[in-house]
């Protein structure tokens, strides 16, 4: 079976105060469809940068990122935006919900870009909130929810469009142990039950334990172990 995510010889550097900082050095990595992969590594090693390239919110300086036959590293800005809307569910460390929107409206947000009508959107939103166990909190605003609940709403928002891959950048990084467990169980379920390809960046070895496979990044290089 071909890999769903193919990263070929990807390099990326950032320029700060006219200094060029190399962040990723010739990374090559394949991820299979239905895989649950954890990325670990020290702070500043380039984990987020790699995740962003896979999620199509940044572009490599060289090399290719191919996801399910689409070379996303070659797409232009607007094509990439469309591609993200259809293919990626993103979960952030700090949830990043829109504070003026209710849980329901936050989850509905990505669906506004689809052709679904109001009733169809409602069905999708309710299903997604049901999966994360927050259907009874639909009308709540983010500030009325706990951190764990906020992250579950964010997960509902990530899955509501039924994306191909789900990426999480330290999705449990800001949560207590119990909430973190809940979130990891949920992500495991998305992987097993809904057959999603899941990719998370984490500092937490317990979190990495849930994954099928863990890869390490050190100073921009992919390594087998630290």
């Amino acid at each position: 079976m071909p890999s769903i995510i193919r990263i070929q010889d990807v390099s990326k550097s950032y320029t700060r105060d006219s200094f060029e900082i190399p962040v990723l050095n010739n990374i090559t990595l394949n991820i299979e469809e239905g895989e649950f992969l954890a990325l670990m590594g020290p702070s500043g090693s380039g984990k987020t940068t790699l995740l962003n390239l896979i999620a199509g919110i940044d572009k490599p300086d060289s090399g290719k990122v191919i996801i399910a036959d689409t070379e996303i590293s070659a797409l232009n800005e607007s094509a990439l935006a469309k591609w993200r809307a259809n293919n990626v569910g993103f979960i952030f460390q700090f949830y990043n919900l829109i504070p003026v929107l209710t849980a329901y409206e936050n989850v509905e947000l990505p669906l506004l870009l689809t052709h679904l009508n109001k009733a169809e959107r409602r069905k999708h939103v309710e299903t997604a909130l049901e999966i994360v166990g927050l259907k009874d909190r639909m009308a709540h605003y983010p500030k009325q929810l706990s951190g764990g609940q906020e992250q579950r709403v964010a997960i509902a928002r990530a899955i509501v469009t039924d994306p191909l891959i789900i990426v999480g950048d330290e999705p449990t990084g800001d949560l207590d142990k119990n909430s973190a467990e809940e979130i990891l169980t949920l992500m495991e379920r998305l992987n097993k039950e809904f057959k999603k390809t899941v990719l998370i960046v984490t500092h937490d070895p317990h979190a990495a334990d849930r994954a099928h496979r863990t890869r390490y990044i050190d100073k921009g290089d992919l390594v087998e172990a630290l």
């Binding site: 962003n52 940044d58 809307a85 990043n96 829109i98 990505p110 870009l113």
Partner: protein
């Protein structure tokens, strides 16, 4: 949920800030509206002047008189329909603060040349017959509670002495642009007194008003009149009433120009105020815009969101301002002396200008925040710490 709802919710995020911004915009719209109303009222006054009337005055200055003997010579020029004349009498009525034009006029012809002053035939005839009678405007009659037959006592200043006039007519302004605050009496009455008391000043006329049959000939006839008195010791300057009005109000005109300018300065200032609000808002939402972009929202969505909020706030401010503007202008109209601005109305053009200014404020204020939101790359948006 639609984008509209998000715009609405976004604008209510900082209720106090939004409220103050809306208040600022509405005050600006009120100020703008008042200034514009003054400007249009002034222009309306100039526009009200008839195109078929010429004014002949002393060439050196309006304050020097012309000989009465010119009347006949002007009347003989072809194309001249009717000639009348007036003297600026002024005087003090009740006290120095009561300002309205008081003129000594040629009783026989004055109303002929000024058909916009509507006087009944009866009243006009009685006025023409009684040498010490006068006609006052309806606004003056109302303001000072004057009736036909009442006595008006005026203390002379340019022409010293105690002057008494019996009101024999009250004229109504024909239309809104007509001044309803005039007072006219017989030049003959004035002249007779001068012949007795100071004969050197007798036989003089302030200015001539000439009605011509063809307004297109105004330049030609004006030149003819002035040529007639060239090299005399009272040369004349003849121009259309409109040009005369503008010249007479030259000093006012400078103020009007300043007001005109100020009205747009206000718009500029309020643009900066809303612009500042919008920039602050967009800055605080840097992360949210990054989230929305990540979810697949494109430039046009963000433009709609930011522009929508900016226009929403500016139109709300504009609406409130307009709502307040009507009673405010109404109030101004009550206190402003009528003879300064015979018509002081909120013109449709002012309303249109105010609304389009509010719209413009909304659009312009969103330019920088939109530019910023679009330029910020997603990864930088997430790393941004406000």
């Amino acid at each position: 949920m639609k984008v509209f709802k998000l715009i609405f919710k976004n604008s209510l995020r900082h209720k106090l800030r939004t409220f103050l911004t809306i208040l600022g915009i509405s005050i600006a719209v009120v100020a703008f509206g008042i200034l514009r109303t003054v400007v249009t009222a002034w222009h309306a006054g100039v526009d009200a002047s008839a195109a078929n009337r010429l004014i002949t005055r002393q060439a050196v200055s309006f304050i020097f008189p012309l000989p009465y003997t010119y009347r006949e010579k002007i009347a003989n020029i072809p194309g001249v329909d009717q000639v009348t004349f007036a003297n600026w009498f002024q005087g003090v009525y009740i006290d120095k603060n009561q300002f309205f034009p008081r003129l000594a006029v040629e009783a026989e012809t004055f109303i002929d040349v000024y058909p916009e002053y509507l006087v009944s035939k009866n009243e006009l005839n009685t006025f023409k017959k009684e040498r010490n009678s006068c006609i006052v405007g309806a606004d003056i009659a109302k303001q000072y509670n004057l009736k036909i037959g009442d006595l008006m006592t005026i203390e002379g200043d340019i022409y010293p002495g105690d002057w008494q006039f019996i009101i024999r007519g009250i004229y109504k302004p024909r239309d809104k642009t007509t001044d309803g605050t005039g007072m006219f009496f017989h030049w003959n009455y004035l002249n007779e007194k001068l012949e007795k008391d100071s004969p050197a000043r007798a036989g003089d006329v302030g200015w001539y008003i000439i009605r011509i049959s063809n307004p297109e000939k105004s330049a030609e006839i004006s030149n003819e009149i002035d040529a007639l008195f060239k090299n005399s010791n009272a040369e004349t300057k003849t121009e259309t009433e409109r040009a005369f009005q503008q010249g007479f109000l030259a000093s006012t005109s400078a103020i009007i120009t300043a007001m005109n300018f100020m009205s747009f300065v206000i718009i500029g200032i309020i643009m900066l105020v809303l612009g500042n609000t919008m920039i602050m808002a967009a800055r605080e939402r840097t992360r949210e815009y990054a989230v929305m972009k990540t979810l697949g929202f494109s430039a046009k969505h963000l433009v709609g969101l930011i522009l929508g909020e900016s226009v929403f706030i500016s139109m709300l401010g504009g609406g409130v301002g307009l709502f307040l503007l009507f009673p405010v202008v109404e109030g101004f109209a009550q206190v402003i002396p009528k003879n300064f601005f015979p018509i002081f109305n909120l013109e449709p053009i002012t309303v249109i200008l105010a609304v389009s200014s509010a719209l413009l404020i909304g659009i312009v204020s969103s330019i920088f925040p939109i530019q910023r939101a679009l330029r910020t790359k997603i990864v930088d948006g997430f790393r941004f710490v406000g």
